[in-house]
């Protein structure tokens, strides 16, 4: 058995767990909940082994020491690690707060991240490290960044759940906010799925990167008709989500999940993630950049977007601690913050160029 088999097992486990968690949310039987947790743990264990095995494989291919052979060096590996951190964080919360329903919101993020790997057809191969990445800073910088990203992802899902639970009217700004932003998120995902399908059918040349085909199958299609129809479909989809979003509220509302706990988890996740992100992501990143490139800060797109995300969470903390922002307002900031993090992480790699362009 090799690491890719185990990665496959964990991907399957998370997707199955997602379905069971959602079933659990709908029926509320504790046996179903225990099954969901068990499946998640199985997925987590096999993923842990898979990462360990990939570490060994990577060490052998790259002919280097253990510290440098951390398999977190490209988009594929970092997504895998992100999911691992996210599930770990979720399991900790599940045991601490003795509440499983939250799983129905975290496992989809894990599932989506893993599906995204296949949707974009990203390279899964093990490649030895380019010289710039051969540094002991790689391990700390990447590990800490992803721990922070995962806590931000948790804050995002609790924030979103809070908004779903607490918004009443369709005219309410925070209701419009969560339905529209979730809608855009899903539309982008669907559009990328279409890109993937058309890419697989049309382009046989392996040298052509899917990157340059982003949204070409739908929203940015060369054919005006396809493009127009896609935009209409997207708008209709978002409208439907806005129109029927309250149904989701009923589902969550039927469950014994206190909004205060959600608010608390949102704050705590960010309060842990922010210092970790500052230290591991920004400071260690700067020290490493200083050693490798001779500049600790060069306003490279990745750095700049990290700073923008950092500002968003700094704002969250100041608003909460100085102005007592809680509830809906805080939840909106947590959601926006994570959208920025996603862009920092994926958008910059896919759309912009710069020194951090290893992941593309």
């Amino acid at each position: 058995m090799d690491s890719s088999t185990l990665f496959g097992v964990s991907t399957m486990a998370y997707i199955v767990a997602m379905i069971i968690y959602i079933t659990y949310l709908a029926f509320g039987k504790s046996q179903i909940g225990i099954t969901a947790t068990t499946v998640t743990i199985i997925g987590f264990i096999s993923q842990t082994f898979a990462i360990g095995m990939r570490w060994v494989e990577f060490k052998n291919v790259g002919q280097m020491g253990w510290l440098r052979a951390a398999p977190f060096t490209n988009l594929y590996e970092s997504l895998i690690f992100f999911v691992w951190c996210l599930i770990l964080g979720y399991l900790i919360i599940e045991f601490k707060y003795k509440n499983r329903s939250f799983g129905a919101f975290v496992t989809p993020i894990a599932g989506l991240a893993l599906a995204f790997i296949d949707l974009t057809g990203m390279d899964k191969g093990i490649h030895p490290l380019v010289p710039a990445l051969q540094s002991n800073w790689l391990l700390v910088h990447v590990v800490m960044s992803f721990i922070a990203y995962s806590t931000f992802a948790l804050a995002f899902s609790t924030g979103l759940m809070y908004l779903i639970m607490k918004t009443e009217k369709r005219s309410e700004p925070s209701y419009i906010f969560w339905t529209v932003s979730t809608g855009i998120f899903l539309v982008v995902l669907l559009a990328m799925g279409l890109d993937y399908l058309s890419f697989k059918v049309m382009i046989k040349n392996p040298d052509v990167l899917i990157k340059s085909f982003l949204f070409r199958a739908s929203l940015l299609s060369n054919s005006p008709l396809v493009s127009l129809l896609s935009w209409i479909a997207a708008v209709v989809f978002i409208f439907m989500l806005w129109r029927y979003g309250h149904l989701l509220k009923k589902v969550i509302g039927s469950f014994s999940l206190s909004a205060d706990i959600l608010d608390d988890i949102t704050y705590k996740s960010i309060a842990i993630g922010f210092p970790v992100f500052t230290l591991g992501g920004l400071i260690f990143g700067a020290i490493w950049a200083d050693q490798a490139w001779g500049v600790y800060w060069s306003w490279d797109p990745k750095e700049t977007w990290s700073l923008i995300s950092w500002f968003a969470y700094a704002f969250f903390l100041h608003a909460r601690l100085l102005r007592g922002w809680r509830g809906k307002k805080a939840a909106v900031v947590a959601v926006v913050g994570f959208v920025l993090v996603i862009f920092t992480y994926l958008g910059v790699n896919l759309l912009l160029s710069g020194l951090h362009a290893y992941g593309s």
Partner: protein
């Protein structure tokens, strides 16, 4: 509090700078402008950004040019160095400083003020409230309470006598309230470090050819071929081994004028000589994936070799505050004729010899009556899959090879390509092994050169930030008051406590303390 209308203009400006609102506006400004700055490639050729605009916004070429022109006039193509971006950063610093000055005295007072016993009413308002009744009067029970607090919380309680008993109280972590200010202060330190770097530092590059020492580096964006004068200065510097006063005399200038001219041309004197003895790329196995870029550097000061180091990416060389980073490499144009090819020749009988050859040289192969000649060279040789014909596939020394012919008594016996990276090509038909050991004098190493006396200030700021964040988020200010009230042979113990962060954890500890007391318990809750 002052009335709004009593405030004069200075107060109003002060209040503005002390407000979180301004901070939010500045965050938003930095973020919004930075978004534009990441979309446009900074300090790039205009054509590149025109392409970006065409691709992202679907402009036609002409519109894109016009839009770029407007953005360029607003400095968006080099925005992080523009006056207005620096102004925003300064505003940010001012905001941080004034915010801190505004709030610090109150916080310092809060931190330094010793805890006082509380009145009865205050006990009702605590987030953490416990009550328990113990056997015996307060004089007897207060010892047990102090012990329990010390065991469960690590608190040493101060004791005061009250009308019906005692009050015990203590606090911990009052200094953690300063964590926020340490964090804010650290940002200022980092900005100060950056400013030091801008004013007293230097950022440049140097394409250093193998074997030729340089005494200067070049500022980014400067071109060494800018003018005849800069060429002449460089030429003289080259012959004077970096000695500026000597070079100035040669040019008929005084040293100050020479220095200022050099500054105009972006030529930065190093104060010593740097030489690249060799540059080499290691590859992973049989692939063209680079494993390491290595430059063997030597620093020469006052005619003596003072430092030798092999630098790689992530492993630079620093001398006298100037750091050299491995950043790129390339072939020196037209250097092929002077390049030296090094071969380690091992003949069949086991004798070995090193030969340094040039293009076109004829040489005798030791231990045989063969002569060899280098007839052709390719920096990156590939062979056509069908015809087997050799071709060059890259303009770097990715897969260097020489074509050698071998002669005996003037007649060509055999010949072929010898590839540096492939030992199986080193053996010639008569059994001699010609190990292709190196090529010298054909490449330059591309070095990033930096002097930044502010970097240590930045690092200090980073350490302070880590420390500040840790105290601000993971440590808390905890206070506890315990009232012991005498009631007919028993003591009613009322506990009130607070923590500015992670109250839950503190409450758990207090529960443990109450649990420790419960062996003397009489009832109650």
């Amino acid at each position: 509090m002052e009335k709004e209308k009593d405030k004069n203009i200075t107060d109003k400006i002060w209040d503005l700078f002390a407000s979180v609102k301004l901070a939010v506006v500045i965050f938003a400004l930095i973020s919004a402008t930075s978004v534009v700055g990441t979309l446009l490639e900074q300090q790039a050729e205009p054509e590149k950004n025109v392409k970006v605009l065409v691709k992202m916004f679907g402009f036609d070429h002409e519109t894109a040019h016009r839009v770029l022109g407007v953005l360029d006039s607003m400095h968006f193509t080099n925005m992080y160095h523009s006056w207005w971006f620096v102004a925003i950063l300064l505003l940010f610093a001012a905001n941080l400083i004034i915010c801190s000055i505004d709030r610090l005295p109150r916080i310092v007072k809060l931190v330094k003020e010793p805890l006082k016993p509380l009145s009865e009413d205050h006990f009702k308002g605590f987030g953490i409230k416990k009550e328990v009744v113990l056997k015996g009067n307060p004089d007897k029970t207060k010892g047990a309470v102090s012990d329990a607090a010390s065991k469960a919380l690590g608190f040493h309680l101060t004791e005061v006598k009250e009308a019906h008993g005692y009050q015990l109280y203590s606090q911990k972590g009052n200094y953690t309230r300063l964590g926020v200010y340490i964090t804010h202060f650290s940002i200022l330190v980092i900005l100060a470090g950056a400013v030091i770097g801008i004013f007293f530092g230097f950022k440049g590059f140097l394409n250093l050819p193998e074997g030729r020492p340089y005494s200067v580096a070049f500022a980014r964006g400067s071109h060494m071929t800018d003018s005849a004068e800069s060429e002449r200065i460089l030429g003289v510097l080259d012959t004077s081994a970096g000695n500026l006063s000597y070079a100035a005399k040669q040019l008929g200038l005084d040293e100050g004028t020479l220095r200022s001219k050099m500054r105009t041309y972006g030529i930065q004197p190093l104060g010593f000589l740097i030489r690249c003895d060799e540059f080499n790329v290691d590859f992973y196995g049989g692939t063209d994936m680079p494993k390491a870029y290595k430059s063997w550097l030597t620093v020469i000061k006052d005619g003596k070799e003072v430092l030798k180091k092999v630098i790689e990416v992530n492993n630079p060389l620093t001398y006298e505050g100037i750091t050299f980073y491995q950043s790129s490499y390339g072939l020196i144009p037209g250097a092929g004729g002077n390049a030296i090819f090094r071969f380690k020749v091992s003949s069949k009988d086991g004798r070995a010899e090193v030969l340094d050859l040039k293009f076109g040289n004829t040489f005798a192969i030791p231990g045989t009556n063969l002569t060899g000649k280098i007839e052709d060279f390719s920096p990156a040789i590939g062979f056509d899959e069908r015809t087997g014909r050799a071709f060059t596939y890259a303009e770097q020394l990715t897969n260097p090879a020489v074509y050698m012919n071998f002669f005996e008594g003037g007649n060509r016996k055999f010949g072929g390509w010898i590839l540096k990276r492939y030992p199986e090509t080193w053996k010639i038909p008569d059994g001699t092994v010609l190990e292709f050991a190196g090529i010298w004098g054909m490449q330059h190493t591309g070095l990033q050169v930096r002097k930044d006396p502010g970097v240590w200030v930045v690092y200090l700021g980073c350490i302070a930030m880590a420390f500040g964040l840790f105290t601000a988020f993971f440590m808390s200010h905890r206070k506890i008051w315990i009232k012991l009230v005498e009631e007919k042979n028993v003591t009613r113990v009322v506990v009130g406590a607070s923590a500015n962060k992670n109250r839950h954890a503190f409450e758990k500890k207090i529960d443990r303390m109450v649990g420790l007391l419960s062996k003397d318990r009489e009832g109650g809750r």
